[in-house]
Structures are given as structure tokens and as C-alpha cells.
Symmetry: C2
Subunit: 226 residues, 2 copies
DNA sequence: CCAAACCAAAGTGTCGACAATATAGTCGCA
DNA sequence: TGCGACTATATTGTCGACACTTTGGTTTGG
């Protein structure tokens, strides 16, 4: 596999991926400080590559850096979540619209097949559908937009933050089957090349998703008070 | 001035700003290669800071970097312009909508005053309105959205690319007065807290702007053929 | 006892040198 | 002559050391 290797992977790349994963998964807690020297010993690389990795994380909005002071993992907040989903709604809505215009028939076929496979899994009960499937679905539509800026902003920037919120708020919950139906309708709209509808359905889909995760977040903060 | 100094400015910062400016203004031609060693002697800093600056430029989509090969300034193209304005339309439309919801009355007042000043300048003929005023207008609305992700994506990412297209295509042309009217209507919508209208007018404003610049681009490419 | 200046420890910013990789030109061979 | 392997060169990737800034605690003067 991976016929086109292209682009060799540097040490800084690996450190960046590792760090990003550790942050998203919560191994490095949100709000904590990232010490360059400490991380360089931990990952057994020079401080320079850790620095580069941290800079990239800052570009992805996963950490905040202040000169001469250091970098901290972003703090999750209700307000941050709202802002994040505002832009996500707008950008992914746009992605769906462009996808309806620009995806090839083959790509749309594959999208349909993906959904069918997931439907089987859901029916067979062995469904931990959840993350993997959902991500794959959104991923294909984003890429299908064929707009490089959009793709980059979503995949390099926003998406890992979204995952970070989901993971750290423990989103293993419900909303599996209903999300599946929403996905199906979106793909139908794309199949029909109905740009308007695709955008609207995607925006709504993300809005529901926000409400769902927001509810979880408020229930947690009330738990804390109790 | 600058009461809150906050955030000391490092050598890498200065190099980044300098490089970005040189690229946007065309002093470093689009498509050309950026040699780390060469630039480090040119700007009299170490290769490390040039590297960091280039990495940031890559995050801003002003250069493209490939590992072990180097970085090139992005090439301007008709397709790239279309993609850029697609996301700009969506994001700034969203900014206008959020601004109508989130700007304070004072901020809206200042926006109105800005427009009045510009109107005077236009009337007095001394108007090279063009860039400065237009940028200031859009800037305030973007910031007025109060959405950090949106602000960052537009101001750090997209805007310099937009300017690069404008500068290098020689946009000193017309469309001054008409753009002014469009600005006025957008501010009116924001004043009325009409989110829907503000978004729609902004999207349309940017669409016109795209058509204008696109026309210029095609006229240049036909010139070349002749 | 408090406040301001000072000092020391820790961490980030910058640098020059070395290692690894890509590129272009040369040589040899069919 | 044309093609492929090899070598030399230039450029990027990585490293450890040094310079500067921040921070927290200590001392000193009121």
C-alpha cells in the first residue's frame, strides 16, 4: 500500500503526531504546561524538534504559546465549544455544498458503500460505529469539496480540537442511530447534486451534534457542583 | 502609545513579518524558492529563526514546504483565487452575521464614524481609499464577530493571501465608490442587528469583489497571449 | 511588617556545527 | 549515443551550547 510514498517523514513530524495524539487523548491534560526540555528528554529528541512540533500545535490551535514564557495546552470551555462549532457549522456546510458540486460519481458511490457497510455493522449489533465511522464520513465530504483551503483548515486545524472535546467529555453515548440517518440524508442530497440541501442538512447535523455535546458538558459542570 | 506591551517580540517574529511582507508585496516573487541559508545571511539572523519564520508562513499558506527539499512561495492561479474567495465568502459572511449579534454599540458607532471619515475623503477627492480603508472595514467586522477561531483563520491565514493577489494583480483600479456603498449597507444591517441581512450583504460584497479581481486576472492572461 | 530592589534558578530564544537527504553532473557500459 | 549507477555538492534536518528573559524567593531599607 501507500504507493506514493512522497514526502519523507522527519523526526519533527513524528514528534508532532505523537504530541498531538497525546493531547487529544488527554494523556497530556488540557491546560497543562509544555516544557521543551522536559518533552525533549521524554521523546528522546532535541529541543529543536520539540519546538517545531509545539509551533505546529500552536498553528492548529491545540496549544497557546507566549514568547519567553512557554506553551500551554488549550483549556476546554463551554464558550470555546460554541465558537468551535460555529465555525465548524459554517465550514462543513460549505464543504457539503461544494462536495455536491465537485465530487465525482465514483467518490459518491464509495460514500454510499461506506454508509451501507456501517448500516450492516449497526444492524449486526457489533457497532461501535461512533468515532471511526463518523470521522470517515465527514472526512470524505471535506476532501470531496476539492477546496484546498477548506480541507486544510478543517483537517489540520479544527478537527483535532473537535475530537479533543469529544474524547475528553467521554462521548461514547447515544446519538449513534440518529446520526446515521442524518448521514444518509446528506449523502442523498449529494447524490442528487442538490447543493443547497446538502449544505442545510450538514449544518443542521452539526448543530444537533453541538447540542448533544453541549448538554453533556453542562451536565458535567452541574455534577461538579453537586 | 501601546500601553499594554505584552508579548515581547522575538527575532523570529520580526523575520516572519519581514518575509511575509516581502512575499505579499512581490519583492520575493511568487513561485520562487526560499533558501534558508540565503535568507539567514540576507536578514542577518541564524538559520533557526529563518526556519521558524518559514514554518509560520507555511501555516499561513503563503509558502509550501516539502521535507528535505525546501519551501517555495505559493503560485498564484485562477483556480486558487476561486477557492480562496469561496472560503472568504463563507467565513466573512459568518463574521458579519456574528458581528451583528456580538458587536457592542460603541464598536458599531466607531464603525460608522470610520465610514463617515472615508466618505469625506472620497468626496474631497484625496481618496486613495482603496486598500487601507477597505482593510480597516473588514478588519473591524471580523474582530467584531468575537469568535477567536474565525478571527485567527481570517487575519493570520487568508487575509495576507488575498492581499497578495490584489497587490500582484495591480488592483488600484475602480470599484472604489461602489464598494463604499456596499460597506454602508452592511454597517446599516449590523446597526439594525439584522444578522441574516448582514451575512447576505457581506457575501454578495465579496462575490462582487471576486468577480472584479477575476476579470482583471483573465484580462492579464489574455494580454500575455497577444 | 511591608515594599522595593536584587539575586539565583529555570526556561525559552538564538546560534554555529554536524548528520542526513536530495540534486546535478560525470563516468562507464551496453 | 543513450541510459543507468555513482560521486560531489548543496540544502535541509538535528543537535548541544550559549545568551537572554522570566519568575520566585531573599535581602534590604523604610
Amino acid at each position: 500500500m501507500q504507493i506514493f510514498s512522497e514526502e519523507t517523514i522527519t523526526s519533527a513530524d513524528k514528534t508532532f503526531f505523537q504530541l498531538r495524539s497525546d493531547i487529544v487523548e488527554g494523556l497530556i491534560p488540557s491546560g497543562s504546561k509544555l516544557s521543551e526540555t522536559e518533552l525533549s528528554t521524554k521523546y528522546a529528541v532535541s529541543r529543536a524538534v520539540v519546538r517545531e512540533a509545539i509551533n505546529r500545535l500552536a498553528s492548529s490551535h491545540l496549544v497557546e504559546r507566549k514568547s519567553n514564557i512557554g506553551a500551554r495546552v488549550v483549556a476546554l470551555s463551554a464558550d470555546g465549544l460554541v465558537q468551535l462549532y460555529q465555525v465548524r457549522e459554517s465550514l462543513e456546510g460549505m464543504a457539503a455544498r461544494l462536495a455536491a458540486a465537485n465530487m465525482t460519481d465514483d467518490e459518491i458511490d464509495e460514500l454510499n458503500q461506506l454508509l451501507n457497510r456501517q448500516f450492516q455493522e449497526v444492524k449486526d449489533g457489533k457497532s461501535y460505529y461512533q468515532e471511526a465511522g463518523d470521522l470517515d464520513f465527514h472526512y470524505r465530504i471535506i476532501v470531496g469539496s476539492k477546496n484546498d483551503h477548506l480541507i486544510s483548515m478543517l483537517l489540520n486545524g479544527i478537527y483535532h480540537l473537535v475530537r479533543m472535546y469529544r474524547v475528553q467529555l467521554g462521548m461514547a453515548g447515544p446519538r449513534v442511530t440518529t446520526a446515521f440517518d442524518e448521514h444518509k440524508h446528506i449523502v442523498q442530497a449529494i447524490s442528487n447534486r442538490d447543493q443547497e440541501l446538502a449544505e442545510m442538512l450538514m449544518r443542521r447535523h452539526i448543530l444537533y451534534s453541538k447540542n448533544n455535546i453541549e448538554k453533556k458538558l453542562s451536565s458535567i459542570s452541574t455534577e461538579r457542583k453537586a
